[in-house]
Symmetry: C2
Subunit: 297 residues, 2 copies
């Protein structure tokens, strides 16, 4: 995987995502404008890329994956719009641009996030229109999308995190792992599971790729905690030591630096080992996974 391959993958994902965005015309013009502003703010498009590459790895060749690629990015984006609200993190900038609530107001940003979540399901349902779509597999993929976004996935992790913050509660390791696995891990899991499902992968291999995704998501978060202590500010894009300053429970505060590094390394190795055990090849995807984990060893 190199820079230009990554850029091409991102542009391909964006072309697909943008096709499913609503048109800015007619009465609900302001909310549509707010939705498009937030989705077009940029980002790595990691989730749709993971989904697409997993689909290809398992031999997928059709268009049924496209509405799901757009849908998972919409869900990721709605979570960012709502995270940035004054009522939550109160962030005024993201990726160098003003956040949605700053431009459109807090109320309209709540509605824009709602709109994106709803649109994600409207969009994913379009997969049934694709000629080659297998109905049973599409239903399974819809379920993965809904489950991994909700209370037993991303939103559950996010709610647990917000709750602990509000109550200034120290987390124990089980709680922290729950947050790490769900807040970030669940959507990566959904991306790869859906890619495999829609490509017609055997359920045993869908299960393995799902385990890989969860390990990748979790190792990535633990490495984030490590990099917050000893990383290079330029590379991680935020101040070293911000977790300590915010009095935040992290993997490092609970297990110490050395133990954390050891666990992240073990998870990364386990992820690559499982990935290779499937016996299918996608060098780009393998490179992408390796670039996300193993950053601290």
């Amino acid at each position: 995987m190199n820079e230009s391959e990554m850029k091409m993958a991102r542009l391909r994902a964006e072309e697909i995502i943008y096709r499913y965005l609503p048109e800015e015309k007619g009465y609900p013009a302001t909310i549509v404008s707010a939705i498009n502003y937030s989705v077009k703010a940029g980002g790595k498009r990691l989730r749709p890329i993971f989904m697409y590459e997993t689909y290809k790895m398992f031999g997928g060749e059709g268009e049924v994956i496209e509405p799901f690629m757009a849908a998972i990015e919409m869900i990721h984006n709605y979570s960012l719009v709502h995270d940035d609200l004054e009522a939550m993190d109160n962030d005024e900038f993201r990726r160098g641009r003003k956040t949605t609530h700053v431009i459109y107001g807090e109320g309209m940003a709540v509605l824009a996030g709602d709109g994106l979540l709803n649109l994600a399901f409207e969009t994913a349902l379009k997969a049934f229109d694709v000629k080659e779509a297998d109905t049973g597999r599409t239903i399974r993929a819809l379920r993965v999308l809904a489950d991994k976004s909700g209370l037993h996935g991303m939103l559950g992790g996010q709610a647990c995190d917000v709750d602990a913050d509000q109550k200034k509660k120290k987390l124990d390791l089980d709680e922290l792992m729950y947050i790490h696995e769900n807040k970030t891990g669940a959507l990566i899991q959904a991306s790869m599971e859906i890619g495999a499902l829609l490509a017609g992968a055997p359920m045993k291999e869908v299960d393995i790729i799902s385990q890989v995704a969860l390990l990748v998501g979790t190792a990535f978060q633990i490495e984030d905690d490590i990099l917050d202590v000893e990383g290079d500010e330029k590379l991680i894009g935020k101040r070293v030591g911000s977790d300590e300053k915010n009095n935040k429970t992290t993997y490092v505060t609970l297990k110490g630096l050395e133990e954390s590094k050891k666990d992240a390394k073990e998870m990364s190795e386990k992820a690559t080992e499982l990935f290779d055990s499937i016996g299918r090849s996608n060098e780009f995807l393998r490179g992408l996974i390796l670039s996300m984990i193993g950053r601290t060893s």
Copy 2:
């Protein structure tokens, strides 16, 4: 339709809705508690009742309707939780109880609304598990649910309303009708369309019942505008004259009292006529429709 029939219908709907609510255990306990608090706050459960009665009218007898009854009420409830937020209407009470954001905080209330919207789709997808479910009809019903809740339905109407409020913009009649048809009308339409679809009604009849629902929703809103001017405060549950006080554009401010009454009456008559033209009978549903419209003639 009498009081005790209506109460029975409400209790039956609640028994079904409550069955699909999440259990308050494990890590995301606070958000689950916020979700259950908001759904259990009461209400007439009109949408699931409309859905169930339409289903029965078209000969539906199975359980496939139940997840959709729960889902439509979850969508209605998420919209209330978000409407009540400080960032929106800043309402502290609803149905005599403190609103969700007052009890759980603004951030958690945003997440609880998100959770309800997501849960609605998770729940509706369970319809595929019901033995008698027709896959094609269930997919159509899912699409109606998603479309009528989103930018081209409830949320579009709500966003247009909030936008006009924020910009202190006077609405014209087209815009006001768009809001009336979508903000309230769209979910009533979804309820009755889904009931008819899942009962296996011919598409022509699904289309008629959808027109009936839209007329009922719109007439109901226009009558609300009339009752705000000349209604009985005890009956309408809010202060007479509140629209004028809030400088709100209503059907009455645009068309005058007499013309508004005439239009509401025409819509109500058209709705009953269309309903009767289907040639199927459900006296309870007919009574329920009549109780919602014709309140001003």
